[in-house]
């Protein structure tokens, strides 16, 4: 089936930008990038495209932006409020504009960061997980199904795992943490990384655009790479590029959900959360009345190092994951097979790090030697 014009929402983000780039350069489709503000269009201005500005909450602006489009790819990232709040305006605007199909980028994390062995696309979902992002994605999928039940626009829900590649936060966060001396591995990073190279995701999106509605409408499909790899496998080439020895990166123990809750609901955490419930004006008034909170004064003789890194719950779960999620359903319904292998993806990502200006090994080694000399 031929595909008409494709609107990409969140086109300036990591995934959205690569969707635009691949569809445009790979002649996959006539693509229309849509961004929230004019400034955020900057990275897309490399191409001569018919871009639009529309806020994901603004149904009328979205409808205008979708005019003439056959497919909408929803790649808007953000807080749970953004994840949930943009669905209705987007779906209804798509319907009003005569869009045929909406491809929604959900996440494999609807099954949790460390899914139980045996989990697959059709496993039941829980929206009371300890990681709020997961709950938002579960609720988003449910909302979308309800909208589909009362609407004309077909939906395909894609559940990519850890999306990797140039500009991926999973790459750059670790690189930045290494450079800043804040990197860590939970349990040695031996857990399964349910990764998906970004080009493989775009390949799946392309397939989902034209797949037979009878097969894919309303379906949720897990997506992953072919190889089973660990977090350590992912981090190794990043560390090597930067000239770091992964063996020297601190190992930290995992934190349990209960410990995490305690950490989050300790006294300062409770205060923060309660404060968060108050309107901004009231918060300011209280702050003005009681003054800013100050950390306890430390003796100048206290030369303790600033404490080692502590794992977050999300990273603890990810780094201890024991199960590789399947993508059999995507293979069966879309004909999805990953195009880019893990090692080729790592090679391209390292090459992008060089493009982006990350310091390569020799530069880092010189700085490290100086710092070590300085004690």
């Amino acid at each position: 089936m031929s595909v008409g014009r494709v609107a990409v929402l969140g086109a300036n983000g990591f995934i959205g930008a690569r969707v635009v780039e691949m569809l445009h350069l790979g002649r996959g489709a006539d693509v229309r990038p849509i961004v929230r503000s004019a400034a955020s269009y900057a990275p897309l201005s490399r191409f001569a495209l018919d871009g639009r500005v529309a806020d994901g909450f603004d149904r009328e602006a979205l409808r205008r932006a979708f005019e003439g489009c056959d497919v909408v790819v929803h790649a808007i990232a953000g807080s749970p409020e953004v994840i949930l709040g943009t669905l209705r305006p987007v779906y209804r605007a798509a319907g009003e504009a005569g869009v045929r199909r909406l491809i929604y980028l959900s996440s494999a994390s609807v099954h949790g960061q460390a899914p139980r062995p045996g989990t697959d696309d059709d496993s039941p979902l829980d929206d009371r997980q300890p990681v709020e992002y997961n709950n938002a994605k579960v609720r988003a999928e449910r909302t979308l199904r309800r909208l589909r039940a009362g609407g004309q626009v077909e939906i395909v829900i894609l559940r990519p795992g850890i999306v990797l590649g140039p500009r991926s936060q999973w790459v750059t966060r670790f690189a930045d943490a290494l450079l800043a001396g804040r990197a860590y591995l939970v349990s040695g990073g031996s857990g399964v990384c349910n990764g998906l190279y970004v080009d493989n995701l775009v390949h799946a999106i392309r397939l989902a655009m034209s797949a037979d509605a009878a097969r894919v409408d309303g379906q949720a499909l897990l997506l992953g790479d072919a190889e089973t790899v660990t977090w350590r496998d992912l981090y190794e080439p990043i560390a090597t590029f930067l000239g770091y020895d992964l063996a020297r990166v601190p190992r930290v123990p995992p934190v349990s959900a209960a410990e995490w809750r305690t950490r989050q609901t300790g006294a300062p955490g409770v205060r923060r959360r309660l404060r968060g419930l108050l309107p901004e004006r009231v918060r300011r008034t209280i702050s003005a009345a009681i003054g800013p909170s100050r950390p306890p004064r430390r003796s100048p003789w206290d030369i303790r190092a600033g404490g080692g890194p502590e794992a977050t719950l999300e990273m603890s779960l990810l780094h201890t994951c024991a199960y590789k999620l399947p993508h059999r359903k995507a293979t069966r319904l879309l004909g999805y097979e990953p195009l880019v292998g893990f090692h080729e993806g790592c090679r391209r990502t390292s090459a992008w790090m060089s493009f982006a200006g990350y310091p390569a090994a020799d530069e880092c080694a010189n700085e490290a030697a100086r710092r070590s000399e300085a004690g």
Binding site: L25, V35, Y41, P43, S45, F47, F355, A356
Partner: protein, 361 residues
């Protein structure tokens, strides 16, 4: 000129009321109004909302429909802060209407236009200058002095990175339309002006960018200056890396954190430590109270004061218009010999179209 006339504020027209006027020129001109140096009398912008926004600063300013109307409103100085494609036309019109002009950077989109602007000012005997605020930063002045005196030995090379995610509050994506402002013509003007001020005119220029039918979001300029000083200028509207200009000298290294007007870092020889310095003006005799050097905002005001005082004939213009030409000429060399940056993440099916789109129509 009588004493009272000398004290009269210079009447200013703000041509273009977009983000740069709203965020910089309007508050700066308000400060100068309070000092009795300037009075904004005319505001021009095709967007009435933009005019209204800026007019809050200037109750006596009138919205005008054309540059010549600004002259009729009595303006002596036009600040041209419109999109770059209008700079040449509006500057020449302002000069023809009897005004001096401070033109926002880039001075023009081509050296041909820039020369027309300079010639118009010379023929009419009007003041013309370009906003290159970084020249007024204490930090860039100190670096120039360190390089001129070879305090750290002769300069050997440099590596400059500037950019990050683009967050300038533009009103429309037309801002990025081809032929408009890519990253080189935007922040590259500042960067090349500084580098050429420090090292002279480049002997060799190699340029590559990532434009594929649109404007460049990333670019790299490899420059070789007289004496063999060479290095890379890397600009981006895409990905943040530490914004630093690093200059390697025989006996140390100078680093300038971009846009920190009063800060310089210096490494002496092979020392494991850097000096991270806030610049000050030395304390007067008998005082230990040093005066902080001008920050960004004070530097911006210094630039405007110099233009105002030059209009009144009380100061020499710090940036004569001819000094806008070298960086524009280098930018033209870059665009004239552009190559596509290697984009190693592209797949085999993308590269052919990327190459075609990059080579332009």
């Amino acid at each position: 000129m009588s004493g009272s006339a000398a004290a009269a504020p210079v009447k200013v027209a703000l041509i273009g009321c977009g983000a740069v006027s709203r965020l910089y020129y309007a508050p700066a001109l308000e400060t100068l109004r309070r000092e009795g140096l300037a009075e904004v009398v005319a505001l021009l912008d095709p967007d009435p909302r933009a005019v209204r926004h800026v007019s809050r600063h200037f109750r006596r300013a009138s919205p005008v429909a054309s540059v010549s109307d600004a002259g009729k409103a009595g303006a002596e100085l036009a600040i041209v802060a419109s999109p770059p494609r209008h700079h040449a036309t509006q500057t020449i019109e302002a000069i023809g209407s009897g005004m001096g002009v401070l033109c926002e950077k880039p001075f023009a989109t081509s050296t041909v236009d820039a020369r027309r602007m300079i010639e118009a000012a010379a023929v009419a005997g009007r003041l013309l200058t370009v906003s290159l605020v970084r020249r007024f930063f204490p930090a860039t002045r100190l670096i120039r002095s360190l390089l001129t005196t070879e305090t750290l030995g002769p300069p050997l090379g440099f590596h400059c990175f500037e950019g990050g995610r683009f967050d300038w509050p533009v009103q429309s994506i037309d801002y990025f339309a081809p032929g408009g402002s890519g990253v080189l013509l935007d922040i590259g003007v500042h960067a090349l002006d500084l580098l050429q001020g420090w090292f002279g005119g480049p002997e060799h220029v190699l340029y590559e960018d990532d434009a594929m039918g649109g404007v460049e979001v990333n670019c790299r300029v490899r420059l070789t200056f007289p004496g063999g000083v060479s290095g890379d200028l890397r600009l981006s509207r895409d990905w943040p890396r530490p914004n630093v200009y690093a200059i390697h000298c025989a006996k140390g290294r100078i680093e300038w954190p971009v846009n920190e007007a009063e800060r310089v870092r210096v490494r002496f020889g092979g020392s494991p430590y850097d000096v991270d310095g806030r610049l000050i003006l030395p304390a007067g005799a008998g005082s230990d109270q040093a005066i902080p050097a001008a920050d960004f905002h004070r530097s911006f005001l210094d630039q405007l004061r110099n233009v105002i005082e030059s209009v009144r004939g009380r100061e020499r213009l710090a940036v004569p218009p001819e000094e806008a030409l070298p960086s524009l000429a280098t930018i033209e060399r870059c665009y004239g010999h552009r190559r596509r940056m290697a984009m190693p993440w592209l797949g085999a099916d993308e590269s052919p179209r990327a190459a075609t789109a990059a080579s332009g129509p």
